[in-house]
């Protein structure tokens, strides 16, 4: 039985914040590069959904048997995030869902758990997603370092693009980077301690122990994919582990995305797999409260997934964000509240009844006349037949803008709010907001794709629904 990765996907938000702009705002030394910032309507859940959708392109969500979701920034202390993601992905009810929380390493640990379950024959298709939107205090090093993003891996025992050959883990109790449950921003001990006693030492010890157990050396690998909060840490540990910096070490995406926390190691793996050749061996290392070491071998199947240009399409679809907008979107600063009605809470009972239509974007298709309609209707808008429908999912369909407006009156952290009439290829119409857009590019007739978004947070309930966005790239079709 060949067990390993069947697919991978990532999600990098549309907006990039220049580190130089952050530094300039505080009078500091201009830091290089830019970091990805989740839109105001995104959170750990929505970007996880986006990465999973990217990963599951061409796969049937109903065949997923388990979803493991890793993050340090889940929206609820009590209420599972994986089940929210499962609802948006339209996974089957019998799918096992689990949140893996609190450690930056939980993404790679999740892969290990998934691998072992498949090898043990208890499951065939397991989706492992890692997603983080971490915060550092303004004018601090972590605000510069962090980026927002998510990544997803599908593991199974058929059609494998990279086999998992061996795995090794360690744990360590250390206060290098950490966040008390009641705080929003990540704290850190002195950088030299974090780097030397923490990151570098723990990585080297674990890699060395794994190498001894599984009898490998640095030269065996085409690529080392080592979690690293920044390029300095990465270069130091890679050199010490015996890797050639120019040819063997996967870039940490620091200059374009930033440290995406739990999601970073699998996002770096995706970048490596985008460039890998059949037969390549990859040393993959996750870090946080210890270390996970995983060895992979790329198979001939890799070329099919590489056609998606996974990283490239996310890196090229982007727009710049100002620092004040970032501060507002992440609620770092309190802005003047709008003179508009206060948002009302959604009803939990109503959300429950609406979960298939709202979360998985299902409408209906009339069995009598074939008319597609959203939201779910009981009387057909076309032939008036009653309760004679089949389910019809819009989440993967392409829509076209029939008309639109840029609304300055609507309350939005990113005015104007762009709203559109969206008509779908294959039938059906939904009125939706357009997100991740440059207002000047919006035209009648332009194609849009669906994206799962955070709609409002009122009285403890995060409310989610769908918006549309301009097509990310021509690679998506």
């Amino acid at each position: 039985m060949m067990v390993g990765l069947k697919s991978y996907g990532v999600y990098i938000p549309y907006f990039r914040l220049s580190r130089a702009e952050i530094s300039k705002s505080w009078g500091g030394f201009p830091a290089p590069g830019e970091r990805a910032v989740a839109n105001y309507d995104e959170d750990t859940i929505t970007i996880a959904v986006a990465a999973c959708r990217d990963c599951l392109r061409g796969f049937d969500p109903q065949e997923i048997e388990r979803l493991l979701l890793a993050s340090t920034t889940f929206p609820y202390g009590e209420k599972q995030s994986a089940s929210i993601v499962a609802a948006a992905l339209d996974l089957k009810k019998e799918a096992l869902t689990l949140d893996l929380s609190s450690s930056l390493r939980s993404g790679t640990t999740g892969v290990r758990l998934a691998f072992e379950a498949i090898r043990a024959g208890t499951s065939k298709n397991i989706l492992v997603c890692a997603s983080d939107i971490r915060m550092g205090l303004p004018n601090g090093p972590r605000e510069l370092e962090f980026g927002d993003g998510a990544s997803a891996l599908l593991l199974g025992d058929t059609g494998v693009i990279a086999t998992v050959d061996c795995m090794f883990s360690s744990n360590e109790d250390i206060y290098d980077v950490f966040r008390p449950a009641e705080e929003n921003c990540v704290r850190s001990w002195e950088d030299r301690f974090c780097r030397e006693a923490g990151y570098t030492q723990i990585l080297l010890e674990t890699i060395t122990a794994a190498a001894k157990k599984f009898k490998f050396t640095a030269k065996d690998f085409a690529k080392a994919v080592l979690y690293a909060p920044n390029p300095g840490y990465l270069a130091g540990v890679a050199r010490a582990a015996g890797f050639d910096l120019k040819t063997q070490v996967q870039d940490s995406l620091y200059s374009m995305v930033g440290n995406t926390g739990t999601a970073l190691s699998s996002m770096m793996l995706a970048a490596a797999l985008d460039e890998a050749k059949p037969g390549d061996r990859i040393l993959w290392v996750g870090y946080g409260d210890g270390c996970d070491v995983i060895v992979l071998t790329v198979t001939d199947e890799i070329t099919k997934i590489q056609e998606r240009k996974t990283l490239q399409k996310h890196l090229t679809a982007k727009n710049t964000l100002s620092y004040p907008k970032y501060l507002r979107w992440r609620s770092v600063i309190e802005t003047e509240p709008p003179m508009r009605p206060k948002p009302e809470p959604a009803s939990a009972a109503a959300l429950y009844r609406d979960r298939k239509c709202g979360m998985a974007l299902y409408g209906v298709k009339c069995k009598d006349c074939g008319t597609v309609q959203y939201p779910v209707q009981r009387i057909c808008m076309s032939c008036l037949s009653k309760d004679n429908f089949e389910d019809y999912c819009f989440a993967h369909r392409i829509g076209r803008i029939t008309t639109f407006s840029h609304d300055n009156l609507a309350v939005s952290p990113d005015p104007p709010s762009t709203v559109a009439v969206v008509d779908f290829d294959g039938g059906g119409r939904i009125m939706m907001d357009i997100t991740d857009r440059d207002p000047s590019e919006i035209k009648i007739g332009m194609p849009v794709e669906m994206t799962f978004r955070h709609i409002r947070y009122v009285e403890g309930i995060h409310n989610y629904w769908w918006k549309c966005r301009p097509m990310r790239s021509s690679v998506l079709s």
């Binding site: 003179m339 508009r340 009605p341 206060k342 948002p343 009302e344 959604a346 009803s347 009972a349 109503a350 959300l351 009844r353 609406d354 239509c357 709202g358 309609q373 959203y374 939201p375 779910v376 808008m381 029939t402 008309t403 639109f404 407006s405 840029h406 609304d407 300055n408 009156l409 609507a410 309350v411 939005s412 104007p416 709010s417 709203v419 559109a420 009439v421 008509d423 779908f424 039938g427 059906g428 119409r429 009125m431 939706m432 907001d433 207002p439 009648i444 709609i455 409002r456 009122v458 409310n463 989610y464 629904w465 918006k467």
Partner: protein
């Protein structure tokens, strides 16, 4: 199906000044409008046999008992009506049906709204609207809803369909708003009574692209009232009553939100309510037979499309009619003689009866500098909701 034509007449009306009535409460405005109507009809409060109070947002969820308390109606029937922006017209319609049925001989219809206690600019109803436009009630899974953006989408689509650049389209709409401001300048009870220029409209801040500040109507407080009696008894109350010819309502099923066939360049509900009203009133050629109209210019594009939906002109013909001055005070078919929603203001639940107040005064020849020459049939039109899903009233009255 019988017609209501000539079975009911209006013999008294009242209307407050519309605007930001900081010094007047909802109760104050109702008393003002109702007592003006009593005086106009030469009636005592005790003469009224049944009451219909229309309000969309004020006094919810139970304005009936407050009305009885405000007016001390005794132990008579009071009914609250809500039908979005057609609320007051529907209060009038229900009161008229009661009189026509013989259930009562004298009825009072009131429309009243206090919007400016909210502290908001714009309507204080976004949450209600988001509730209506959600995937299901109480989920708030909705687009970010405002009224301006939804009418703006009609402008975007209209411009596109008829090949107007945004500049050309906005200029056409600006002329309509300049007309309504001109009319409003002769209207002492209007919220806004100032002339504006096309350049002011075009250079105003954008509210919801392509619509700017002057493309949007006022958000106002106000109240209006009408006393209805049996048509055959009307002349015993006054020599110049006006007679109801048609009262129609059309409520859409939000087709524009669901059906790709709907192209957002017309409002089907207006077209359908117009057809029904013309049939009820026996009108064959609306353009020739209607002397004047008060229509729901909540936004500039709405008025342009109403010209077409009510068959005052052909589809796509609004621009040439605007250029020809057809709907100006001195034009062939004056529209919004009192300034319309744009200038008179738009207290949601009061607007339909304010429109009727203007038609009533015009037919009686009491409209002063706004007076239309030899008016015969007058039409009022309300549009609640959005172009994608609306509740529309069309009422026709005449001498």
């Amino acid at each position: 199906m019988e017609s209501i034509k000539d079975k009911v007449a209006i013999v008294g009306m009242g209307c407050t000044k519309f605007g930001e009535n900081w010094g007047k409460s909802y109760d104050d405005m109702i008393i003002e409008a109702v007592y003006e109507a009593y005086e106009d009809a030469g009636m005592e409060p005790k003469d009224i046999q049944a009451y219909w109070i229309g309000s969309y947002w004020s006094g919810l969820p139970a304005p009936s008992m407050p009305l009885s308390t405000i007016l001390k109606v005794g132990y008579k029937p009071v009914t609250h009506i809500e039908n979005m922006c057609a609320t007051a017209s529907d209060a009038l319609r229900n009161a008229a049906y009661a009189v026509a049925s013989g259930a009562c001989d004298i009825a009072l219809a009131i429309g009243a709204e206090k919007l400016k206690d909210s502290g908001f600019s714009g309507l204080p109803t976004d949450e209600i609207a988001m509730g209506i436009t959600s995937t299901a009630p109480n989920t708030f899974r909705s687009r970010n809803f405002t009224a301006p953006s939804h009418f703006a989408m009609m402008a975007t689509s209209y411009f596109n369909k008829y090949g107007l650049s945004p500049e050309e389209g906005k200029r056409m709409l600006a002329k309509i708003m300049v007309k309504n401001h001109h009319n409003g300048s002769f209207s002492p009870k209007a919220h806004f009574q100032r002339e504006i220029t096309i350049e002011q409209v075009l250079n105003a801040p954008i509210i919801a692209w392509p619509l700017g500040l002057f493309d949007c109507c006022g958000v106002s407080d106000g109240a209006a009232a009408a006393i209805l009696v049996r048509g055959d008894k009307a002349r015993s109350f006054r020599k110049d009553p006006i007679f109801v010819k048609a009262l129609q309502i059309a409520v859409g099923w939000q087709e524009g939100y669901m059906n790709p066939q709907h192209d957002w360049t017309m409002v089907k509900e207006t077209y359908q309510a117009g057809l029904a009203a013309y049939a009820e009133a026996g009108i064959k050629n609306p353009r020739n037979e209607i002397s004047m109209a008060e229509v729901h210019d909540c936004f500039s594009i709405t008025e342009a499309v109403i010209y077409e939906d009510l068959q005052f002109t052909r589809r796509g013909g609004a621009r040439e009619e605007v250029d020809a001055g057809t709907f100006e005070l001195t034009g062939e078919l004056p529209v919004n003689m009192d300034g319309g929603l744009k200038c008179f203001g738009h207290p949601i639940g009061a607007t339909g009866l304010r429109m009727m107040y203007e038609i009533y005064k015009q037919i009686q020849g009491k409209a002063g500098p706004r007076q239309v020459k030899h008016p015969k049939l007058g039409l009022t039109h309300n549009l609640g909701g959005t172009p994608g899903g609306a509740t529309v009233s069309v009422s026709i009255v005449g001498p």
